[in-house]
């Protein structure tokens, strides 16, 4: 945490970037070309002949093929080497420089929040595209659902070799102190590498974060307990429904459980999960219930009343979850 003086200095430092350029204009490494357009259209499933059918396009009002407008920012991208930029490599431009300042003060998360693009003129094969980016606004500190941070809005103008304006993109990111999913929120180097999909993360708030923290940091499953009447409760809530006490602590579950009910999820298949997937309502030995998965089991062998034992484990690159296995009798 920064003290008020430090915060003031930090904000002065970041707000000084407003109005500045990222650096010299970026010039596309390749001119707009039919091969790249064709590949993009294949991947996007865009069959518009104006982009790829030279014969058809010759008879169109444009007199030849044009590049899909939404490819505009692609022509100036720095390509594959971007994937290997490390967080503390010397900054390649003022944007990286600014992000590194944020990183230094703990605002390590980055998430794109808005992007709007206006298109003025079409790009066509042979055009050389340039882009010119500036920092437009940097907000005051904001509290958001994923953490506290600053919105940075940048404006990029695209032109061709004749200086003709092709488009204008307004891009807004939030640089924030991650409160939720540190691993998912870390800025990946350069932001271009795609990761394996992971399980959907729970929203975190006052009433459940402590529970997930125990899972993530201590590999423990806790059960909330009323300090006044000792009633156990799950899912956690801020007040005891029996005696209305706001005072609570927790006990650690033994993770000995019995299957109260279950289902075998087959469809739809969501990225980040493997199927068939067994979901189950587990009755814990302590008396509360926990919804989880039963793993290392043939779905056909699942029965209600099955004894299971749970542990907290890493289920994918970023997710830790309680998971249960049948107890061999």
């Amino acid at each position: 945490m920064m003290n008020p003086e430090e915060k003031k200095a930090f904000e002065k430092q970041i707000h000084a970037y407003i109005g500045k350029e990222f650096g010299p204009a970026l010039v596309g490494q390749d001119d707009v070309n039919q091969a790249m357009v064709r590949q993009w259209c294949e991947v996007m499933g865009d069959a518009n002949p104006a982009y790829t059918d030279t014969e058809w396009a010759a008879t169109s009002s444009r007199g030849g093929t044009i590049a899909p407008p939404s490819m505009l920012h692609i022509w100036v991208m720095q390509g594959y080497p971007m994937a290997f930029i490390k967080p503390d490599d010397p900054p390649v431009d003022r944007q990286r420089e600014l992000h590194q300042i944020f990183d230094k003060y703990g605002y390590k998360g980055v998430v794109a929040t808005n992007c709007t693009t206006e298109f003025f003129t079409e790009a066509k094969p042979g055009d050389s595209i340039q882009s010119h980016s500036t920092f437009d606004t940097i907000s005051d500190e904001k509290a958001t659902g994923i953490g506290t941070g600053y919105f940075i809005e940048t404006v990029t103008n695209f032109t061709n070799q004749d200086g003709e304006k092709l488009g204008r993109m307004v891009f807004r990111v939030l640089k924030f102190i991650p409160t939720a999913q540190p691993a998912a929120a870390e800025e990946s180097s350069g932001g271009a590498m795609s990761k394996d999909p992971t399980r959907l993360a729970p929203a975190l708030g006052h009433d459940n974060k402590w529970w997930w923290d125990a899972v993530n940091n201590d590999d423990k499953v806790l059960i909330q307990r009323c300090k006044s009447c000792e009633t156990l409760r799950h899912p956690p809530r801020p007040m005891c429904h029996k005696c209305q006490s706001l005072e609570w602590d927790s006990i650690e579950s033994t993770m000995d459980g019995t299957v109260n009910s279950f289902c075998v999820i087959c469809y739809p298949e969501i990225p980040g999960y493997s199927y068939p997937l067994v979901g189950a309502v587990i009755e814990l030995a302590e008396g509360t219930r926990l919804v989880s998965n039963v793993v290392d089991v043939d779905p056909d062998d699942m029965v209600i009343g099955m004894k299971v034992k749970g542990t907290v484990e890493q289920v994918d690159e970023v997710t830790k979850l309680p998971q249960f296995r049948p107890v061999k009798s």
């Binding site: 929203a203 809530r237 109260n260 289902c263 075998v264 087959c266």
Partner: protein, 389 residues
């Protein structure tokens, strides 16, 4: 009959938390604290409260308030729209409920971290920490992402406890496609299915197969209600509203009430049924047909049991042998239902209920239809009506 609300009701308790720039706790806790304080101030206990009214803008669901504070049953839930225009309308909701005898005591609430959380002045609400969002977090990481998963969990336990098999589900699935096959407005028009079709279809979430699940459609449905007096002068046989009830029950969650001792019944539907019968003076024997909310086949069984057509756990036997068919004891979802007419969130079912009263359903039963039950979603706070000639 009540003719005026004058002097019918009074505000008897008030409760507040401190006001700060950073409460340091959840909006749910703020709501629980002020609601609990108001109940105490009134000299009442949580179980004396049976209605909650709030803001559509509130991030705290009324059933979360009820579970947290320990209010066991709700007979009326309302959310009033339009932000700053809402507060006095909460009083109006409460007075309506209490003066008509629908509720004994109603609490109105609003809880917000309006400075430290999502601020109106920011103009952007980036994933507010609603109780709803927190609640889904107990299921999503484990892959329980769809209504089929949640309903399957209740169904598996139901089959286990009562010896039910998918035969009962097949009965419902096939009967409703049969109705739909004769309804030109149904997606399954002209497409009846056989028992073999049912059994050969793949699992979506075991034990639910493809034809246990409703379809997804676009469309709209609406209705008009006026006074009985005025209805006399209008062209159609009026469908008189005999009763209209809402309900949430102890430990209620939306679709995931897995923490109750028994997860094979719908206590909220028991509560709705009780009110429907009390208000109308009718019983299950007086109901001639039904529109039962059928997002999934098993929830039809649960509802039939709650409405007393048979005992809890016996629905799977009761439906067999054509009970819900055109000539059965209780022709049900004669339009094809959400399973096979279309999914307009139950308002299309209400329209069919009215057709049954008018005698204009494409599958109009031969017998006289005096009273029809129309229900809403199951496994969540819910509501139902009885309409009649």
């Amino acid at each position: 009959m009540l003719t005026s609300i004058k002097d019918e009701c009074a505000i008897v308790g008030i409760g507040m938390t401190e006001i700060s720039k950073n409460s340091g706790r959840s909006e749910l806790q703020l709501a629980a604290e002020c609601v609990s304080a108001a109940i105490k101030d009134a000299g009442l206990k949580p179980h004396d409260i049976d209605g909650l009214t709030g803001f559509t803008l509130d991030h705290v669901d009324e059933i979360e308030v009820a579970r947290t504070v320990g209010i066991p049953e709700l007979k009326m839930m309302s959310r009033m729209p339009h932000g700053g225009g809402a507060p006095m309308s909460l009083v109006q909701q409460a007075v309506m409920a209490v003066s008509t005898g629908m509720c004994k005591a109603v609490v109105g609430y609003r809880a917000m971290n309006g400075r430290s959380g999502a601020r109106y002045s920011e103009g952007v609400a980036d994933g507010p920490e609603t109780t709803d969002a927190i609640s889904w977090g107990w299921y999503m990481p484990y892959g329980l992402l769809t209504p089929a998963c949640w309903v399957a969990m209740h169904t598996q336990r139901y089959m286990h406890e009562y010896g039910a098999t998918d035969e009962a589900l097949a009965e419902i699935a096939v009967a409703q496609r049969d109705f739909a096959s004769r309804n030109p407005n149904a997606l399954f028009y002209g497409r009846p299915i056989t028992m073999d079709d049912y059994y050969n279809a793949p699992y979506i979430v075991e034990p639910l197969k493809l034809y246990d699940c409703c379809i997804e459609t676009d469309g709209g449905a609406a209705f008009v209600i006026t006074s009985a007096e005025r209805a006399k002068d209008l062209p159609h046989t009026p469908a008189m509203v005999r009763s209209a009830a809402q309900g949430a029950a102890f430990d209620q969650e939306v679709m995931t009430s897995f923490y109750r001792d028994c997860i094979t019944t719908l206590p909220e539907y028991d509560l709705v049924a009780k009110q429907c019968y009390e208000q109308s003076g009718l019983g299950p024997d007086d109901l001639d047909a039904a529109i039962i909310y059928d997002a999934f086949t098993p929830i039809v069984l649960f509802q039939l049991e709650s409405f007393g057509f048979c005992k809890h756990g016996e629905g799977h036997e009761w439906v067999k042998g054509g009970t819900l068919g055109p000539d059965g004891r209780l022709p049900t979802n004669t339009h094809g239902g959400l399973l096979s007419e279309g999914y307009i969130h139950g308002i299309n079912g209400l329209a069919e209920g009215v057709r049954l009263i008018r005698g204009t359903s494409v599958n109009q039963p031969k017998k006289n239809i005096e009273n029809v039950l129309v229900t809403s979603g199951a496994s969540m706070p819910t509501s139902a009506i009885i309409i009649g000639k």
